[in-house]
């Protein structure tokens, strides 16, 4: 695939939203500091009854599903063979990279003894019975895959760079120190450029194998995120505890992935004042209702098979959340079935948002809302706990905002128009 499909978004980096997000991130990181000094209990409301709180439920279980845009796009482009979506993949991969990278980071904040995490790489400690083991290895591998998938964007930039900012900085530093700048530095910078130029075509050749790995790994760990709760048969409400948890989580991450790709594209086009990608998005939106129909049928069929339909319609606390999740996903899908609504960017946005909300609520239901460890236990996240999650999410958006302005990530506009014309013919 050619690298000319992407362009750097030329705009100021220091915008008001940058400052705002930076502030939120800093607050989050300060609180993370508090957590490491005073213990997890100092910043969170987690307890021995609810040992997994919002960090695992949102940052890991839901966050990685929201970061499945890259996964969904890769399936669409390389497996379903819609190469004309290719210009959209780099921004999807960038968001996935941030989503997964920060999910991994959140885990390191959440676990009590992170310094022992090296045990994941010691075969004698491996524990194949544990869904967590599978999730951990797969997520680490997938984050690496995402980095590799994103590497071409970095290499292209390195190849062409003239190191202007760096040169200025170095000149200033040497001037400050009253020294003459040695020639060597220029040579070394050139060597980096040469290396990037050498690496890029070689990476391009094997990239497809990495990309397919990037489809296989999420298929594995997204289903395992569902398997994680299989063990909690006495604690998870029967509306959600089923042997189909892995399958439901897998389909769930796919429809969330496509919907989030739509949302991200609409939001970034709006924020960066670019033309909307209505045609591509409505094409992509065609797939979503089929996935949700499969998902909803498995949910209903499984409930009927286990004799839980009455519980689902009992309108108690659990049934309320179940119905909400169900209606959000079903409502969004109904909207997307209509070709007319799909052609409107507003309806696309609304229906995709409904589906993401419903899909995310499903994960919340499984990890927190439907989880009841017994009498006397309650959980609602503490303010500091929420602020840590907010800080991490803010950092994610911040990183995206900055990287699209220094690396070629967003689809190139004139190429797009050409492609549109080509498809029309």
């Amino acid at each position: 695939m050619s690298h000319d499909e992407y362009q750097i978004h030329r705009a100021k980096i220091l915008t008001p939203s940058f400052i705002f997000l930076l502030t939120l991130s800093l607050i989050g990181f300060v609180l993370i500091g508090v957590r490491f000094v005073k213990g997890i209990g100092a910043v969170s409301n987690m307890s021995d009854g609810y040992p997994w709180g919002i960090w695992i439920t949102y940052d890991v279980a839901t966050g990685t599903a929201i970061a499945c845009g890259g996964y969904a796009m890769a399936i669409l482009i390389y497996i379903r063979n819609h190469m004309h979506y290719h210009p959209m993949i780099r921004s999807a991969i960038l968001t996935s990279m941030f989503g997964y990278g920060l999910a991994g980071f959140s885990v390191m904040v959440d676990v009590g003894r992170p310094w022992n995490a090296y045990n994941f790489f010691i075969p004698s400690k491996w524990q194949a019975n544990s869904a967590m083991f599978e999730v951990a290895l797969c997520v680490m591998a997938y984050t690496t895959v995402l980095l590799l998938e994103f590497l071409p964007a970095v290499l292209t930039t390195l190849e062409k760079t003239e190191w202007r900012t760096l040169q200025l900085l170095l000149d200033m530093l040497y001037a400050r120190m009253g020294m003459k700048r040695p020639e060597r530095i220029g040579e070394r910078l050139d060597r980096v450029k040469d290396l990037a130029a050498w690496l890029k075509p070689r990476l391009d050749k094997v990239l497809i194998f990495v990309i397919v790995l990037g489809i296989t790994l999420p298929t594995m760990h997204q289903s395992s995120l569902g398997s994680l709760l299989l063990i909690a048969s006495t604690k998870l409400h029967p509306l959600w505890h089923t042997g189909f948890l892995p399958l439901l989580f897998l389909i769930n991450c796919m429809f969330i992935g496509y919907s989030i790709a739509i949302l991200e594209s609409v939001i970034s086009c709006y924020a960066f004042k670019r033309p909307y990608e209505t045609k591509e998005l409505s094409g992509m939106a065609q797939i979503i209702p089929w996935l949700t129909v499969i998902w909803l049928s498995v949910v209903v069929g499984d409930l009927a098979w286990r004799g839980q339909l009455a519980a689902a319609l009992s309108f108690d606390f659990y049934s309320g959340f179940f119905l909400l999740e169900f209606c959000l996903v079903a409502g969004g899908s109904l909207l997307m079935f209509s070709g007319k609504k799909r052609a409107s960017i507003r309806w696309l946005f609304i229906s995709a948002a409904l589906i993401v909300l419903g899909g995310a609520l499903y994960r919340f239901n499984v990890y927190l809302i439907g989880f009841n460890p017994g009498k006397g236990w309650h959980y609602f996240p503490a303010l500091a706990e929420l602020l840590i999650t907010v800080g991490i999410v803010a950092f994610e958006i911040l990183g995206y905002q900055v990287l699209v302005k220094i690396l070629p990530v967003l689809p190139k506009l004139h190429t797009r128009q050409q492609l549109d014309a080509e498809v029309k013919v």
Binding site: N116, L230, L247, L250
Partner: protein
């Protein structure tokens, strides 16, 4: 550009789903676990317990250094005269509680690790920090491998493993049958050794079961006719006798199947021999490479056509 093919996509999805489902059905054939009655455990008889809490203090005295236990201060006790845990916590491995239904109906109950025959905590621990000794049946915890993910807490049906929420260097706390302390020195757990009324018996599971059955036979009017832990979640090595329904004593009503068997069945069949992931990867590779080639060929064709056009234009 190829025509959109929903069929191909559904095929891939279907293959994945089928792989997941196919495994599930033949999983039921896998062998269920065997209960080993030669392993060691304890029998707690609630009708004998007088609630003196000597077991609690002995446990803390013996295991405080090794097990990272500490005294817990009550709000009414500013001078810290008593150790007053409210529940099992990151500082307390065993606990006596009083359950009072009326002035006449009440019972003490002792909480500590149940030492399951098929422990959920061992099944879910991603780094093998939770282990079950094949010979003694003791479920033990190793803080030097534990990453502190607390999956064991999610998994345990008895809510036994506790986490030290208030410490910068936390660990999981749970009973290990004094494996490295009292058992080594005296051949018996500290709580069973200390109990002044013989409410806690220590020994092999088969002997404890025989003793429990004998008591049930001798005084049928006194006890609820059930040995809690004999069958629950595939059997536990910590057994209970009581005069009040066990659920009223805070012990959950559980099925005989171990939750770990259910989850392992599914996990194992999906990943049996790592065949499904490898098959998925190779299939996807073939599809993706074919698509790429097709696309490159088309692009090439377009390019040549364009060149021809340009030349014609000249």
């Amino acid at each position: 550009m190829a025509h959109p093919s929903r069929r191909r996509f559904l095929k891939v999805l279907g293959a994945t789903g089928a792989a997941l489902l196919a495994g599930r059905t033949d999983a039921s054939a896998s062998a269920t676990h065997q209960v080993n009655n030669d392993t060691i455990g304890m029998l707690y008889d609630a009708t004998k317990c007088v609630g003196c809490k000597a077991c609690m203090s002995a446990c803390k005295r013996v295991n405080s250094d090794y097990g990272s236990l500490s005294y817990e201060q009550a709000t009414f006790d500013p001078d810290a005269l008593w150790d007053a845990p409210q529940d099992l916590t990151g500082s307390t491995r065993t606990l006596i509680k009083l359950f009072k239904e009326s002035e006449k109906e009440w019972s003490y109950v002792k909480y500590s690790c149940m030492h399951c025959q098929k422990p959920s905590c061992v099944s879910v621990c991603p780094v093998s920090a939770m282990t079950r000794d094949a010979v003694t049946g003791t479920v033990d915890y190793n803080k030097n491998t534990c990453i502190g993910c607390r999956y064991c807490q999610i998994a345990c049906a008895f809510n036994i493993p506790k986490f030290q929420w208030d410490r910068a260097i936390p660990q999981i706390v749970k009973c290990d049958l004094c494996k490295n302390t009292n058992l080594v020195k005296k051949g018996i757990t500290a709580c069973a050794e200390t109990c002044p009324v013989g409410a806690i018996s220590f020994g092999k599971r088969k002997d404890l079961l025989a003793e429990a059955k004998k008591r049930l036979q001798e005084r049928p009017g006194l006890y609820i006719n059930h040995i809690y832990g004999e069958k629950e979640v595939g059997g536990t090595n910590h057994l209970y006798l009581a005069a009040m329904p066990f659920n009223n004593l805070g012990l959950p009503i559980l099925k005989e199947e171990a939750p770990a068997e259910f989850s392992e069945k599914i996990q194992h069949t999906i990943y049996k021999g790592f065949i499904a992931p490898v098959a998925l990867y190779s299939t996807l590779c073939c599809v993706a490479i074919r698509n790429m080639k097709k696309h490159d060929a088309e692009a090439h064709k377009h390019a040549t056509v364009d060149n021809h056009k340009r030349e014609d234009g000249k």
